[in-house]
């Protein structure tokens, strides 16, 4: 199915050339809007309701910000997505595809096919702050920083334990050092505000890194 990409600039999901952006046509039945100005990109789509799917790149915000919500019955041909990426790290191969209660099945299938066709893995989730991955890993990363402060073990011992014990490719402290503590602060602070759960409150070391700038 032909698709087009509307690039509004500074995409976190596709910061560099990728099969998905390179394979796009001038116009298509599926429209992917990437970049930091998704709302502006949406206004550029003609006959939006006639498209099979319109897929919007999300940051920490919910899809409902762009579609509106209606008593739990919302849903259309508009979906959200984000290619998971930690801070300054390279984008992963995983796309979280965000649906609403009444998202059109054809729109969901078309969006999924499009990403998978570009070599990406797709996990479907509903429209919640942090989607799946950020929602799960931010409390873990905050706890790791806090336990380091409390002297549970050395940073190396903690990283080694999680690598050898669970097969993680990287321990939490090394991962945060590589991808940026300040970037972790930004995401976990946004989730703390959205969810009100203390597990997302930025750990001291993340706050210090953010304050240092």
């Amino acid at each position: 199915m032909p698709y087009c990409v509307i690039d509004t600039g500074a995409s976190r999901s596709f910061p560099a050339a990728h099969a998905l952006t390179q394979g796009a046509a001038e116009d298509g039945e599926v429209v992917v809007v990437i970049g930091a100005e998704v709302k502006r990109g949406l206004t550029r789509i003609r006959e939006r309701e006639q498209k099979t799917a319109v897929v919007l790149e999300l940051g920490t915000e919910c899809l409902g910000v762009y579609t509106g919500e209606a008593r739990g019955t919302e849903g259309s041909n508009v979906l959200g997505f984000a290619r998971f990426r930690l801070g300054e790290g390279e984008p992963s191969n995983l796309v979280e595809l965000v649906r609403q209660p009444n998202t059109a099945p054809a729109a969901l299938a078309a969006a999924k096919n499009l990403f998978e066709g570009a070599g990406l893995a797709v996990a479907v989730c509903n429209d919640f702050p942090g989607r799946i991955v950020d929602r799960l890993i931010r409390p873990y990363l905050n706890a790791a920083l806090r336990r380091l402060d409390e002297g549970l073990a050395t940073a190396d011992a903690m990283d080694t334990t999680l690598k050898l014990g669970l097969g993680y490719p990287e321990g939490p402290i090394a991962l945060l050092e590589r991808t940026g503590l300040a970037a972790h602060f930004d995401v976990t602070q946004a989730l703390y505000e959205a969810l009100g759960d203390a597990a997302y409150a930025p750990a001291r070391r993340a706050r210090v890194a953010k304050q240092r700038g």
Partner: protein, 291 residues
Amino acid sequence: MAEIRTVGVAGCGTMGAGIAIVAARAGFRTLVYDTRADALATARRQSEAFFAKSVERGKLKQDQVATILGNLVGTTDLRDFKACDLVIEAVFEDLKVKHALFAELNDICPPQTIFASNTSTLSITEIAGGSGRGERFAGMHFCLPAQLMKLVEMSPGLNTSEATFQAAWDFCKALGQHPVKTKDSPGFILNYFLIPFNNDAIRLVESGVAEPAEIDKAIKGAMGYAMGPFELLDLVGMDTQLLLCEAMHGSTHEPRAACPPLVKRMIAAGRLGRKSGRGFHAYKDSKMFGS
């Protein structure tokens, strides 16, 4: 400290049987105690199957396996542990059960025998407190499945002597394992992070964020983890997850450690995980991991 030649493993559940394989494979004479003769027989069969696979994969030769299996002896009589230089306890995660076992062992074993606990959630200091030899006691938490995983979290209790901890550390290395030192703190490192992480994943399902298979796919794809949280939970078992949560939450009172209601519903429905053929995913068999 006396040289460690004979090792006792108390309890031959999944963990105990795995630890016994590790000790026997490393050349130690290994006694495995359990009150249940049928459990010992099952563990023996699984150990034989595991070592047969090791031969198939070229990791061990047949004559080596014969020696290892000759060194691996099951017993239902705890008094046989009088020959042990070091005893690793791998019984039910209940402080009273562990205290009763160690009190009995303290009468049976010579004074120089080092005691170790494979507890994953209880305090080493509290277990050692009922052993009669707190200064010769260390935490040695192996990972599941012990026969395949190299990591051992080692914790000194408040009264553990430096010489004892060093001897246990050296023994761990002699097993071919990779020790890491942690404080005697609930869950040590691994379970402190893993139990709440898995609970968080279950709560995502409870709150309708995504289906288990989608969450597994997301975590593996985004983080490069070998297993998703639900694949791992199915391996651990819902009944074990409940016990882990109760122990962790009971000692930390941290909200993320509290057992999500869905776990109890799954236990009631018989969806324990791999061992019952169905947990968050469905399985065709329940043979020992790695065999």
